[in-house]
């Protein structure tokens, strides 16, 4: 049994009501297409019983290094990425928004958590 299938089995034991969600997530991760997805997008794709459960499952996978989580600072006008940060501590108070050529204060409104699925 591979490490990833062991991991997904363990997740199914921990979140039995989310077995379908975990199965679909496993298919996406092993699907050969790299994706960058918000929690909202994953909610729509996976249709979990509980959004909180899905967030917990994703955090377990981030901890195990099977997926990564980044903090994406976006330009308020077009939502284009300005820069990604691996941890909240790395996020500066201001960034240069090269989409508009202005200095942008970083607030919750222009910050998105994104999960990268290999």
């Amino acid at each position: 049994m591979s490490m990833s299938s062991e991991r997904f089995s363990a997740l199914t034991r921990e979140f039995p009501e989310e077995s379908k969600t975990i199965e679909r997530l496993g298919e996406m991760i092993g699907g050969g297409r790299r994706r960058e997805m918000t929690l909202d997008h994953l909610i729509l794709k996976l249709d979990p019983k509980s959004n909180i459960n899905l967030a917990r499952i994703l955090e377990r996978l981030v901890f195990d290094g099977m997926i990564s989580r980044d903090y994406r600072v976006e330009s308020p006008g077009n939502h284009g990425e300005i820069q990604k940060f691996a941890t909240p501590e790395e996020i500066p108070n201001e960034v240069f928004d090269w989409h508009t050529g202005t200095i942008l204060p970083v607030t919750a409104r222009n910050l998105r958590v994104v999960y990268s699925l290999p």
């Binding site: 918000t38 909202d40 909610i43 729509l44 794709k45 077009n78 939502h79 919750a108 409104r109 994104v114």
Partner: protein, 335 residues
């Protein structure tokens, strides 16, 4: 300022002559075509004769000032039993914050020095009741008037005018565990309501533990509105959308408010192609609930489904009926 005078001023600020005339006529006091006629000839004599009460006028003000021009944040409360706190809990909390009197006698406030709980009441709802907490606040808004030319030393100045505005913030607690935190929309460009939401939660924290509140994510409502865009033709019109895809690319499409974005075949085709395989979704929508005959909404209602996961905004003043309709539709689409 005396309470009656303040009430008259607020009614004129938030209501219209037509609305007040209809309100008075429906209660047998006669209507009118001007504020002076309605207040001096209809309301004042009726108040003096005891045929009309301030409480009745307050119901008019509630409907006029509490709905619309707000950013609404939806939460689900995870607490055992009925989510609506009992009368004794409400009284205990109000007593602890020195506002017990509002339970029996609402405060009619214009621009209080500090943020004030103006009213706590129970509104009837279908087969249930809703606890309503109203908080009035004085806010300031600065408008740039002019910028002077730099002098010889390069100094220049900016002149602002500061305006005081009134914020009517409302918390509603439903029996099914849902809570609405409704914040008066900013007059300036700021789209960030985090501080106001935190403050409002703090005000009611003695009654509702913020740790028991979980945001109601509205992504399913946005997605279903988008998926049913053709079916909703004549009911909902779309002015802009921001589509986010799994490559990390953002796509924005926008048009004017008099047409629907998806009535343009090239736009419809482009966005449908993006979303066809589920690798892209509508992260935000700018929509209008269109006026209907003989049913709500009775006017065209502009709604922003954007911002925080659990946030929507109604950018114009509206009636309670129209607000409840839009809220109900958003919740229906969110399942």
């Amino acid at each position: 300022m005396d309470t009656t005078k303040t009430l008259f001023e607020l009614i004129q600020r938030y209501g219209t002559v037509r609305e007040l005339s209809d309100f008075l006529q429906s209660r047998g006091h006669g209507g009118g075509n001007s504020w002076a006629q309605l207040i001096d000839d209809r309301i004042k004599p009726a108040l003096e004769k005891g045929k009309l009460s301030l409480e009745t006028l307050l119901t008019f003000l509630r409907d006029a000032e509490e709905y619309g021009r707000q950013h609404v944040f939806l939460f689900r409360r995870t607490a055992a039993g009925n989510s609506v706190p009992s009368d004794s809990n409400v009284r205990g909390w109000l007593n602890s914050v020195g506002s017990l009197s509002v339970m029996d006698e609402p405060r009619i406030l214009d621009l209080p020095e500090t943020r004030e709980i103006a009213e706590v009441r129970r509104d009837p709802a279908s087969h249930s009741e809703i606890l309503v907490i109203k908080v009035i606040e004085r806010c300031t808004h600065d408008t740039l008037l002019r910028v002077t030319e730099p002098d010889d030393s390069g100094r220049y100045s900016k002149e602002y005018v500061r305006e005081e505005t009134r914020a009517v913030n409302v918390v509603r607690v439903h029996q099914n565990g849902m809570l609405e935190f409704r914040l008066t929309q900013h007059r300036g460009a700021s789209r960030n309501y985090d501080a106001e939401l935190r403050d409002l939660k703090a005000i009611v924290s003695g009654l509702i533990d913020p740790a028991t509140l979980h945001p109601i994510n509205l992504v399913k409502a946005k997605n279903k509105l988008y998926e049913k865009r053709h079916e909703l033709n004549g009911t909902v019109s779309f002015s802009s959308t921001h589509i986010r895809d799994s490559d990390g690319v953002s796509h924005t499409a926008a048009c004017g408010g008099q047409v629907s974005l998806f009535s343009f075949s090239r736009t419809e085709q482009s966005i449908a192609t993006l979303t066809a395989d589920g690798e892209a979704y509508p992260d935000s929508l700018n929509v209008w609930w269109l006026k209907q005959e003989q049913k709500p909404p009775h006017q065209k209602i502009h709604v922003l489904l954007s911002g925080a996961d659990n946030e929507f905004a109604i950018t114009q003043q509206c009636s309670r009926g129209d607000y409840e309709h839009v809220l109900g539709e958003i919740l229906r689409f969110n399942t």
